[in-house]
Assembly symmetry: C2
Homo-oligomer: 319 residues x 2
């Protein structure tokens, strides 16, 4: 009998869902609104209605083994969503428990970066790895750290916040309230801020002078780098240096087999991977030199949100 | 029947051993030379002879359950000691295997900082903790990181090298070959270097002007701080700032319940704990504020070397 896990990714605007088999094939893919529901019970009622409709597309016979959920500020230990700033449901929402009123199935929940790491482990490039790190370079920097085959959740369920390690004392203002967090440098908005700093400091020609702060994004910077634009190239070098230097410390702590890069900025491929690797090797302790691979995620281009969420359940079943 | 684990701590000069029960009581404590043996087989033959002699002191009936070993550059996965610079046996020494020629028992091996962390878990302040970090501030900075009840070993068995994260770009020369490693600031020699920097920079009075670099140690600095010496107090503040700032990053990655401080410098108590705590809270992400305890190890003053080594086996048996 065909077996599926329901994968649910809760974003601020949309919720993506799908029925995922052990090989990562998704059936009944769907997207439904998140932010039109002021109340989490109404949201869940609609989500379940949509899931039941999508389930009708599955070929019989089949069995659903569990529900994995990726959500901002998702607490794995408690199955709660806590103080998520980009969701309307404030406070501590007992999300897993609310889902179990509709489904008599195991429900597991974590944040999207942790889910992405498990996605890499279950379906991607980390299939045979017990120790690795996933870094998502998107609108922020998220990370999922796998030690001995399991995610590091920490005592409160919130471990893995590599975006908020301090890399520059009194550095750039971060959304978290602190200054100089890694994600203010190594992320899609981070490299944009670096371009603006470079344009302010230097006078060399660059096509990036033609963009407003709001217009500029990491894809434009990547395209400029492809044409040899010196500011774009320097921006990648600078971003890779800050990221690589921090990852050297991550390696000293965890000694992972590999570090995977994912997210909008990771699409720049070697422009970001090559300086990151170079500076990691420059700063890392001798004991770890030339041991760690920096790899693009094998899930780039796939529905990672849903795959990662479903991997929460498959990873448990694989044990 | 009384049950024991043999704990062995291999130091550069001496090897400490003992028979440890589940409550951390040590019988047959012994110390034998390490560095007079050019050859590891000769060393082990002597070690076993000494252990057998000490075993005669145990009250019968008893049972020995296993052998835990703390050793520099100890590789937990392979049971090997690899390229340890302060031991005479070079290359990769299959130490656990060699011990098993003499004892038909489980033999586990790791480095001394990891062993100390397990000692804290089995016998000390971390008894009911699944996620915590142990920092030993001695001649270097060692660390053992426990995630979900188990040490983080990493893919190669060498994880937890927090002494060698980079805290100051182009900073102090470290024994590892790099510049600006944490242990060049936060360790017994580290605070001494800080005192010399402060004496060079400032002109305020200090009794520490009376010591040569070779004479000065962390106990002298502690005693000066007790008398209100401004340079000694500043040196602790500066050391705590660098350590606390780094530990803020450690917290973002692991979210431990507590961080334990151990080793010569940790004996300074609040002089080091208080600035470390203050700066950790200053730099840490809001999500983790006021959640993490910084505690002195409960094993200070005990034979941690032997306790930690024996904990390697008790921790396995506790599972």
């Amino acid at each position: 009998m065909k077996e599926y896990v329901i994968g649910i990714d809760i974003g601020g605007t949309f919720t993506k869902t799908g029925f995922v088999d052990r090989d990562g094939n998704i059936s009944g893919e769907n997207s439904s609104p998140t932010d039109i529901f002021e109340n989490v019970e109404d949201y869940i009622a609609n989500l379940v209605k949509e899931l039941k409709a999508a389930e009708k597309q599955l070929e019989k016979p089949y069995k659903i083994l569990g529900i994995g959920i990726g959500a901002p500020n998702g607490n794995y230990h408690k199955g709660t969503i806590e103080q998520a700033t980009n969701l309307k449901w404030q406070g501590i929402v007992p999300f897993a428990e609310l889902m179990q009123k509709h489904y008599d199935l195991p429900v597991k929940l974590t944040n999207d970066a942790n889910a992405a790491a498990l996605g890499e482990k279950v379906y991607g490039g980390a299939k045979y790895m017990k120790d690795f790190v996933m870094i998502t370079l998107g609108t922020g920097l998220g990370s999922g750290i796998v030690v001995n085959g399991d995610l590091v959740y920490g005592h409160d369920g919130f471990a893995g916040e590599q975006g908020h390690v301090n890399v520059v004392e009194n550095g750039r203002q971060c959304g978290c309230g602190n200054l100089g967090c890694l994600e203010t440098y190594a992320s899609a908005p981070g490299i944009k801020r670096t371009v603006f700093e470079l344009l302010a400091k230097n006078t060399e020609g660059s096509e990036l002078v033609n963009y407003t702060f709001d217009e500029l994004d990491s894809e434009i910077i990547f395209n400029a780098a492809e044409k040899g634009d010196p500011v774009a190239l320097k921006a990648f070098e600078h971003t890779g240096k800050i990221l690589g230097k921090h990852l050297a410390d991550t390696v000293a702590l965890f000694s992972p087999s590999a570090i995977f890069l994912f997210g909008g900025l990771a699409k720049a491929g070697d422009y970001i991977i090559s300086p990151t690797k170079k500076w990691l090797e420059h700063f890392v302790m001798r004991l770890f030199k030339d041991k760690v691979k920096i790899l693009p995620s094998q899930l780039i281009g796939k529905n990672v949100a849903v795959l990662g969420a479903s991997a929460l359940i498959w990873n448990e079943l694989d044990k």
